[in-house]
Amino acid sequence: MNETVKDAIKMVDIYIMGKKYSVPETLTIMDAMEYAGYQLKRGCGCRAGFCGACATVYRIAGDFELKVGLACQTKVEEGMYLAQIPFFPARKAVYDLEEIKPTVADFAQLYPEVFRCLGCGSCTKVCPQDIDVMQYVAYLQRGDFAKAADLSFDCLMCGLCVSRCPVNIVHYNSALAGRRLYSRYIARPDAFLSERAKAIEEGEMDSDISELVNADKEKLQELYNNREIEK
């Protein structure tokens, strides 16, 4: 970064767990914590919005509303009071996927809390991925696992929904069980994949590959340069 760019950067005051730090306004919350001197152990993972390690709650001075975001994906703002929630206790049902079926009855055994939803919408409101969490909870209640799977797919399992739920639903684990049920039993298996796997296991593909494994580099280069490429 050149000097003129550096000079142009505006600083903002933020409060990490109540303590004031002055940081460049272009930073994400995560970068700002490091700028302030933290070497993160918890509350930091992929740094790219995929892993859900860095759930953060904050409030802007003068505003009553509690806001949330992923620390790696949220820019700092003037007067931001923040704390990370790197872990939130939540139950995961233990199950054998081969022993259950995609039915309301089986699902209710795993996650009975789902049926206690009050419809308050706190989960949807808090989701940093903008997922309509309450809606997929409704789909799970109905046993519509295809819709629940589709709607919940972008979930990062950050746990913020769980932290806000008045009836202790574990949304992200329930959704994961729903997606696995859908993928295992409702989406159809790929028939040719099974055929191919069987052919490999029975050694039918061995001779082809052995020929290449034993070929010299010159031969391989020639085959590679002239290989047919699917349009």
Binding site: K41, R184, L212
Partner: protein, 534 residues
């Protein structure tokens, strides 16, 4: 931070040429052109970024300076007195170090084979590059494809430097891995009949890239993690291994773990050990930004090497051609290759394409560096760096409106957070440090050169030669994770309780360092990157 007025002005050239680029195939490079652009512009060929390591079993081997720094370093246990004689804190058949896709799949298979398994990991279980792999996973499971065709792509992409038996294992196990994941309830993109939807990736000759939207790795990781918990496998988080323990015969027999939070050292004794610690992008070779996970600091390579495990291709690093360059919050972040798979083209400041959009990653990256450095046709950014455009809006011209939202939801969301709509505005990209092609040397059963020490995933080397293709890393971690789990579990049955646990190899490594006058003041593995006060 939306695009500045200057960038918006430059963007007009991209818009102006867009319609004329639809359906027009830019010529691929000839083998000679590929070789030339690599030699002149790929960072692996820039000599002052490398040195030969002075100590250890591969003394004299070339590696990036930043990797050599952590290899030529003293143990964290140097002045620490550990009790290796009393009962250990953990005593298991198979110890797995690392909680990404390789570690998780190894754990499942090892337990299935009857072993008592402990999985230990530096951060949370699932905090790994696996979680971030967006684009897909390759497997030859279509009628017009075979493992042999896949093999040729892997070798051609890897500059024919792959270890043949490892590449063979990779492509032959691929359909088995996809089948395994399907049965575990992984939500792949499928059509109504259940057929996997597959597309091209850089360097593929068949459409064999399977995906789960653009959360492919995350979907695989959360499924495997859920299954590990379902199986009741013991998982210890925030406890990286800081040294491998050897027994009196010099075989791997456990590890010293470090609880990051209580700062205590713990002893794990095991009959066999699997290193599945992943890559090293967070060492920031040559100062490049990285697409890697926070924990990617080569820990497993360092402790495996100290224990005597041989390495391969430590000087071969993959730069992903499309790292985020702007907005600044996205610097280094991976723009999935699926974006190019769907037809997005790299363009220079004049809105002209300068390279075929699906060359192998090394060639594509080198061509982008050439466009910016030699030809001076990069787009200057307000942050002081240059970049090229990646024309994402063309995807919707090719495949129809709504494609980006459906196929690239993660990308769309990430750019949207910083006020860029990739459906309407092209992205700005530059190569980012992405993958360690080399690592610890293994055979096709995932055995390292140290007895009872196995390696799987990005920590292992040789599978991809000196350049990996997209979609072969998610595949590799599962193929060799499963193989490591199986071999380590089977081997553990032949072993009674290991005796005479020791760290003598660490003491001799220290002596070597002193003799070579290397590593003064450095401690490894580094475990956590230092980003404070930057």
């Amino acid at each position: 931070m939306a695009y500045t007025p200057q960038l918006k002005e430059l963007m007009k050239k991209v818009e102006a040429s867009r319609a004329s680029r639809v359906g027009v195939e830019y010529p691929r490079m000839s083998p000679e052109e590929r070789r030339d652009v690599l030699r002149k512009f790929h960072p692996d060929y820039i000599e002052d970024g490398f040195r030969n390591i002075k100590v250890g079993v591969d003394k004299g081997t070339r590696m990036p300076n930043e990797m050599a720094d952590v290899f030529e370093a003293y143990s964290r246990l140097r002045d620490i007195d550990l009790d290796l004689k009393s009962d250990p804190d953990y005593d298991v058949d198979v110890l797995i170090i690392g909680g990404g896709g390789a570690g998780a799949s190894a754990a499942l298979i090892a337990q299935e084979a009857g072993a008592d398994v402990l999985l230990t990991t530096k951060l949370r279980f699932g905090d790994a590059n696996t979680m971030m792999a967006q684009g897909g996973i390759q497997a030859a499971d279509k009628e017009n494809d075979t493992p042999a065709i896949h093999y040729l792509d892997v070798l051609g992409g890897g500059r024919l430097e792959n270890i043949p038996e490892l590449a063979r294992a990779l492509v032959m196990d691929a359909p088995l891995v996809i089948k395994w994941l399907e049965e575990l309830g992984t939500m792949f993109d499928k059509n109504e009949e259940g057929k996997m939807i597959t597309i091209h990736g850089g360097g593929t000759s068949r459409k064999r890239m399977h995906a789960a939207r653009d959360y492919t790795g995350a979907e695989i990781m959360r499924t495997l993690r859920d299954e590990v918990y379902n199986k009741g496998i013991t998982v210890v988080e925030f406890s990286p291994a800081v040294e491998i323990l050897l027994d009196k015969q010099g075989c791997a027999a456990g590890a010293v773990l470090y609880n990051l939070e209580t700062e205590q050292y713990l002893i794990a004794r095991a009959k066999t050990v699997i290193v599945a610690t992943g890559g090293s992008g967070r060492l920031h070779y040559r100062g490049f930004p990285t697409s890697n996970h926070y924990g990617a600091t080569a820990d497993g390579l360092v402790i495996g090497y100290r224990a005597g495990a041989k390495t391969i291709y430590t000087d071969s690093i993959q730069y992903h051609p499309t790292g985020g360059a702007y907005p600044p919050q996205l610097l280094g972040l991976l723009v999935t290759e699926k974006t190019r798979g769907l037809g997005a083209q790299p363009l220079n400041i004049n809105g002209e394409q300068f390279v075929y959009h699906l060359e192998t990653r090394d060639v594509e990256s080198s061509a982008i560096i050439r466009e910016c450095e030699e030809r001076g046709l990069g787009v200057p950014l307000p942050t002081g760096i240059t970049a090229v455009w990646l024309d994402s809006p063309i995807i919707e011209l090719i495949h129809g409106e709504g494609t980006i939202e459906r196929q690239l939801p993660a990308m769309m969301r990430q750019f949207h957070r910083f006020d860029v709509d990739i459906r309407k505005e092209p992205m700005l990209i530059y190569p980012t440090l992405h993958y360690q092609n080399g690592g610890l040397l293994i055979d096709d059963q995932a055995r390292s050169s140290v007895e009872n020490l196995y390696v799987a995933g990005e920590a292992a080397g040789g599978i991809h030669g000196t350049n990996r293709l997209m979609g072969n890393s998610l595949l590799d971690i599962l193929v060799f994770g499963r193989r490591a789990g199986k071999s380590a579990a089977e081997k553990s049955r032949e072993i009674s309780t290991p005796e005479g646990l020791n760290l003598n190899h660490v003491a001799s490594y220290h002596q070597e360092l002193e003799k070579a006058d290397a590593g003064k003041g450095r401690v490894g593995p580094v475990m956590l990157p230092h980003y404070t006060h930057r």
